[in-house]
């Protein structure tokens, strides 16, 4: 288990987005998005493909600049949080160096994050994703599920306060998915904040709170039960559809 970093006391929110807008040419990817993620919670960003989930996560990771609105991450700008090594970003595709071994990849990312005692941290992260025995394997020889697990391990090395996980369970078998979520829960209970994007509704019930996002704006926010109750539907999927139509 990774102990959490101390969260900036200036804010109670790990991520605070107000009226965030982002445009790519003629396409408006984020249209005044508002949401707030509390420290130590698992926040699920739920929505169909193209709804703006990845764009928002990339804004939080300091990779995109919003054109309007304010976005506070761990009490400062997104870039400041990233530069301080307090953010971990797991991309949708397992972005790793295929010619390097698992160990070499992790060692590289540990060096970039300035991780001390890299050996222990790498072993710890690999144990978490159940890949300790593949430490010497070249990444190109691994299955896509294994690469996703290595990618997650690379995100955990520096024990970030905020974990951004963009569809982390795509291509992961159901058993391992179960283990991932159990691990996410342990991280959250130790104080780490997790922002998880997904378009799979059954994963949503595992999050503390959800933001239903469509066409670059949040339709509704709350726990899964609250959203279902608000929509008056039997499940989350139909709640999402009902809330989308109500807009």
């Amino acid at each position: 288990m990774f102990p959490p970093d101390k969260l900036n006391v200036a804010t109670q929110f790990a991520v605070d987005a107000r009226g965030v807008r982002k445009r790519f040419g003629t396409i408006e990817a984020l249209r005044g998005l508002d949401l707030a993620i509390r420290a130590g919670e698992i926040y699920g960003l739920l929505g169909p493909n193209g709804s703006g989930k990845t764009t928002f996560i990339r804004c939080v990771a300091g990779l995109l600049r919003s054109e309007a609105g304010t976005l506070t991450v761990l009490g400062g700008t997104p870039r400041a949080a990233v530069s301080a090594g307090r953010v971990g970003y797991m991309t949708q595709v397992a972005a790793l160096y295929g010619d390097l071994s698992v160990d070499e990849n992790l060692r590289f990312f540990a060096a970039l994050q300035g991780v001390a005692h890299a050996d222990e941290r790498i072993a710890e992260a690999l144990r978490t994703v159940d890949l300790l025995d593949r430490r010497r394997s070249v990444v190109n020889t691994l299955s896509s599920g294994m690469r996703t697990r290595v990618s997650l391990a690379a995100t955990l090395l520096h024990r970030p306060s905020l974990l951004l996980l963009d569809e982390p369970t795509v291509g992961v078998d159901p058993l391992l998915r179960q283990e991932f979520w159990a691990y996410f829960r342990r991280l959250a209970s130790s104080g780490t904040t997790l922002l998880v994007s997904s378009h799979v509704m059954d994963e949503a019930s595992r999050c503390d709170r959800l933001g239903l996002i469509r066409a670059g704006a949040v339709l509704a926010e709350g726990t899964a039960n609250e959203l279902v109750a608000r929509a008056g539907t039997p499940d989350l999927e139909s709640a999402f559809l009902a809330l989308a139509e109500a807009r």
Binding site: L64, Y97, F108, L112, G114
Partner: protein, 357 residues
């Protein structure tokens, strides 16, 4: 700027190539193969004596002059009629048809003409044969000419002149290509996005790339130099350290240019299409094949902005003339290469936007 992060990026590049045998082959084997070919073509005196037909029906003179002319080692001489000689020339059986227009004392040389380079060689060979023929009359047609050289010598071949510039060309070509493709992979596989979501700064990333590829460029230079000096027996007078310094500053420009090109390309095929745009002008305008002072005036400014122009001049000065690092010409060339590298590196940093989508 964090040295640990720069070192991590450089190490990542070196480790990555360790398992990429094709790229390693491209770096180290390809130059050796090409140099072997260059050595075979230009490394030995391969001048072939041309076949020269003397048109006997148009030329008469003292028999001993004609005999000496035809027996000259500069040519393979034979006799034929003018018409037969022309036929041989057309069929490619002879390189030149020769006769003397007695009333005007004009020596006529007819060549096949489709190869302008061959014309000069044949003309010179015939003139040597004429001199041999006239020597039978007991007098030489003018003073004896002795040519001495400040640098090089009679035993220097074209390869000696080409080797220094090939060292520069290979370094630039392969390092440019590999850095462009490597960085493009960072962009297309998502690793660049991942790197940009870490504390790594753009300048640190470029510096790491420069350090990683400089390592390979210097290894390549060692392989090329050892091969040219020990196997091809190229004459070499300069200081090895000076050669490496010139190489290193050239490589800074090559890597940075590769990074810049990778920003303009969407895939590896497009990146490769930049090779002729970046390299062919340098092949023709940097003094690699044609001396810069023989270029047309309007091409000189273009030659003046190409990095290989200065690398070639510096490496020839060091390897053929034995100039030291402190020589003003070498220092000036290195200075210009450093400036080029800096401009390209700044451009490369600017090309890596945070918004990498």
């Amino acid at each position: 700027m964090n040295g640990h992060r720069v070192r991590a990026v450089a190490k990542r590049i070196v480790l990555g190539f360790r398992r990429d045998r094709r790229s390693l082959g491209l770096l180290f084997v390809a130059p050796v193969v090409v140099l072997s070919l260059v050595g075979a073509v230009w490394g030995i005196a391969t001048e072939r004596a041309p076949v020269v037909v003397l048109a006997t029906d148009r030329f008469s003179g003292p028999a001993n002059v004609i005999d000496r002319f035809l027996a000259s080692s500069a040519i393979h001489g034979r006799r034929a009629t003018y018409d037969d000689g022309l036929r041989q020339l057309r069929r490619g059986e002879a390189d030149a048809l020769v006769w003397l227009d007695s009333p005007n004392a004009t020596l006529h040389i007819v060549t096949e003409g489709s190869d302008p380079l061959a014309n000069g060689t044949i003309g010179a060979a015939v003139q040597r044969a004429v001199a041999d023929g006239l020597s039978s009359l007991g007098q030489l047609p003018g003073p004896k000419v002795v040519i001495e050289q400040l640098y090089g010598g009679a035993d220097y071949t074209l390869l000696d002149y080409l080797a220094p510039v090939l060292v520069a060309f290979f370094a630039f070509f392969f390092i440019f290509l590999l850095s462009a493709v490597s960085f493009l992979r960072e962009r297309t596989t998502g690793t660049l996005e991942r790197l940009m979501a870490t504390p790594l700064r753009r300048g640190e990333l470029v510096l790491g790339y420069l350090a990683g590829f400089s390592f390979f460029a210097l290894l390549q230079a060692i392989v090329i130099l050892l091969f040219t000096v020990l196997v091809l027996r190229v004459h070499y007078r300069g200081n090895l350290a000076t050669i490496f310094i010139v190489e290193a500053v050239l490589v800074v420009g090559a890597v940075s240019l590769g990074l810049l090109v990778s920003a303009a390309a969407r895939n590896e095929l497009q990146a490769v299409q930049f090779v002729p745009i970046v390299l062919l002008p340098q092949v023709f305008l940097s003094g690699l094949l044609i001396p810069v002072d023989q270029l047309p005036d309007y091409l000189r400014p273009l030659s003046a902005v190409l990095p290989l122009t200065y690398a070639n001049e510096a490496l020839r000065s060091v390897m053929i003339k034995g100039y030291e690092l402190a020589d003003p010409l070498v220092l000036r060339d290195i200075g210009i290469l450093v400036a080029f590298g800096l401009v390209m590196a700044i451009g490369a940093v600017a090309s890596i936007r945070r918004e990498v989508a």
